[in-house]
Point group: C2
């Protein structure tokens, strides 16, 4: 169960993850003509000042090496005032959804981080691209695969980077599990289980299909789906799903509660995945011929717990504190890609892959049949 600096470096190198952000000052931010060089930090506007933005993202800029929060976008003037004061962002760098396109004229803004209801992701990504700004967009990438394709096309046309907010790809325990599975620790993998769910309180936008695009699958089941893909390191070929929603529950007028799905991968691995808006789940496990490795919780903000079972013994493994938290790693990765010109490891194409699979999962449950995907 050795975890040492070398294996950690190997993981990071192998994953191309953002934790090894450039230590030298950036001399240019490629891809946007509007940006002046030299620039030392990737300067973000946060778009949408909801819970995740204000409690998780905005406080993390101070933990990054290469990022800065320089502008805010919100439909609520009081929020702009409050968080503007808190983060020393002057009124000249406050925007609302009407004058959002004016960010094009602000050379202090290099990138936007879109943390809006899912239905707004496509529009605000495309408007940002047209304004010449790089885009970090929260997951799920959009309401439909078609929207994802439009977002990718718009960013490509504008020559700006597009990255999706898959924070777990920058979290050391998740990276460690991937590395251990690839290294053969548990032998040939056969079974993945991935479970994510929480009790969704009534009255939130996530329960309103026009805003959310769907129910638990879009919001939390996507963690099970994305984990199955990064744990296997493969793209599925077959999807089956079963939905269970109590339509008399006022929370579920137009979105699903629980949708559990199975993915079959080319190597033969089967992933058994849970997605729920009525029950708490946060775990995954990869079982191979020699044992298993798993976490519970697997994808929390903090407090990951990792276990390995081999030779009839189950042991908990604790890693040293990371040099950078998952959000800082995520934010810095986009900065690194802007400098290097490389594509983010979780570019728009990653979000599109998940969205196509989500559509297949919904279709499988609706039509009562296995759906062939990929290739």
């Amino acid at each position: 169960m050795g975890w040492d600096e070398q294996s950690r470096r190997n993981v990071l190198a192998g994953m191309g993850a953002g934790l090894v952000a450039a230590a030298t000052p950036m001399t240019a931010l490629a891809g946007s003509k509007r940006l002046a060089a030299p620039v030392k930090k990737l300067r973000y506007a946060v778009v949408g000042l909801g819970n995740y933005a204000v409690n998780q993202i905005m406080p993390r800029f101070k933990d990054t090496e290469s990022c800065e929060l320089v502008a805010l976008v919100s439909g609520t003037p009081a929020k702009l005032e409050k968080y503007g004061a808190q983060y020393n962002i002057p009124a000249t760098h406050h925007y609302n959804y009407q004058n959002y396109d004016k960010i094009a004229d602000n050379p202090d803004i290099d990138a936007v981080y879109i943390i809006l209801p899912n239905s707004m992701h496509a529009e605000y990504t495309i408007r940002a691209a047209k304004a010449g700004k790089h885009v970090m967009c929260e997951k799920p990438m959009a309401n439909t695969a078609q929207e994802c394709e439009a977002m990718i096309a718009a960013c490509r046309k504008a020559k700006v980077k597009l990255m999706i907010g898959y924070r777990c790809h920058f979290e050391q325990y998740n990276l460690h599990v991937i590395e251990q599975v690839r290294s053969g620790l548990i032998g040939k993998p056969h079974v993945i289980t991935a479970e994510h769910g929480f009790y969704a309180q009534p009255g939130q936008w996530r329960l309103d299909r026009p805003l959310s695009g769907g129910g638990s699958m879009m919001d939390i089941g996507i963690y099970s789906l994305n984990a199955a893909r990064y744990l296997s390191g493969e793209e599925p070929v077959l999807v089956t799903a079963t939905e269970s929603t109590d339509r008399t529950d006022p929370r579920f007028k137009n979105v699903e509660d629980q949708i559990d799905f199975q993915l079959k991968f080319p190597s033969g691995v089967i992933a058994n995945c849970v997605s729920s808006y009525s029950t708490g789940h946060n775990s995954f496990r990869v079982t191979g011929e020699k044992g298993w490795i798993g976490m519970e919780p697997a994808t929390p903000y903090t407090g990951h717990q990792l276990w390995v079972r081999k030779g009839g013994k189950t042991e908990q493994v604790t890693l040293p504190p990371p040099s950078k938290n998952q959000w800082a790693g995520q934010l810095d990765h986009l900065a690194e890609c802007v400098v290097s010109g490389k594509e983010p490891i979780v570019a728009g194409e990653e979000g599109l892959k998940d969205m196509r699979l989500i559509e297949a999962i919904y279709r499988s449950a609706r039509e009562g049949r296995a759906i062939k995907v990929g290739a």
Copy 2:
């Protein structure tokens, strides 16, 4: 997390389990004209002297209140000699597969316990019924639902009891979990996960379809299936399944390796189940709106481990040692049913239900569609 004598009694009463076997001597064994009254013990012939018989069942008769091992059936004379000597069973009570029907003429034998390859279950159950003997038969009950129906009909016609060897229905941790779920400990249940698997070594009868009727599903996946049913307390209405078998592996010439399946129950509960011949699994968990209760290992011979998560805390729960082990409870239950005339809680109909579902699971995987079952 209270476990006390009263709740234990409630569980046992509610389940009708065999742990409360008759304390008074039996005065008659109903259902067979050939049996003389009064008889104090249900006297078994064990049919098949393989690993499970000699290591798990035969040593447990001493732990029962109402059972006795009085005869042996085997095709291997050396085994009859060895175990006959070990258990003080004279040659007059040794049988082979040719003269098996002669048990009809032995008034010392009340019942048989069939521990043969699956394909032989139907034949040896029906022959026992014709000999006027009660039948305990190992699971899976047979190779097909059709065989199960014939076994039930034969035992009904002969007025002998037919019970299937579902030992977990007599195991205190499993009973405790059921009782806690029913009592509302975790709130309304939504998700069940049940995983069973082991690495099947080559060369065993279980890998030979004519003998086994199928692969991991018949042998070990049936534990996931049966657990999903007793944990939910319902019969499924929808089955989906995905199979994954490496046909280049010489173990899997004609049986499946891994077949994972989902069951949807009328209440809305979804069970996500694993069955594998390449990886080790032995766990289940029921997740409700208030938390979860689960075990790992869940269905071992000994060493059950139970956890409950409520209010953000996970605690292990240890029960006092049981008054009777699961095999003794199982063996005594048939004795109790013979005396009382009641049907076993895991009668032939229970085995038939599992077999019909196994057939639906195979069909779902084969046809790539959800299969409606029941009603």
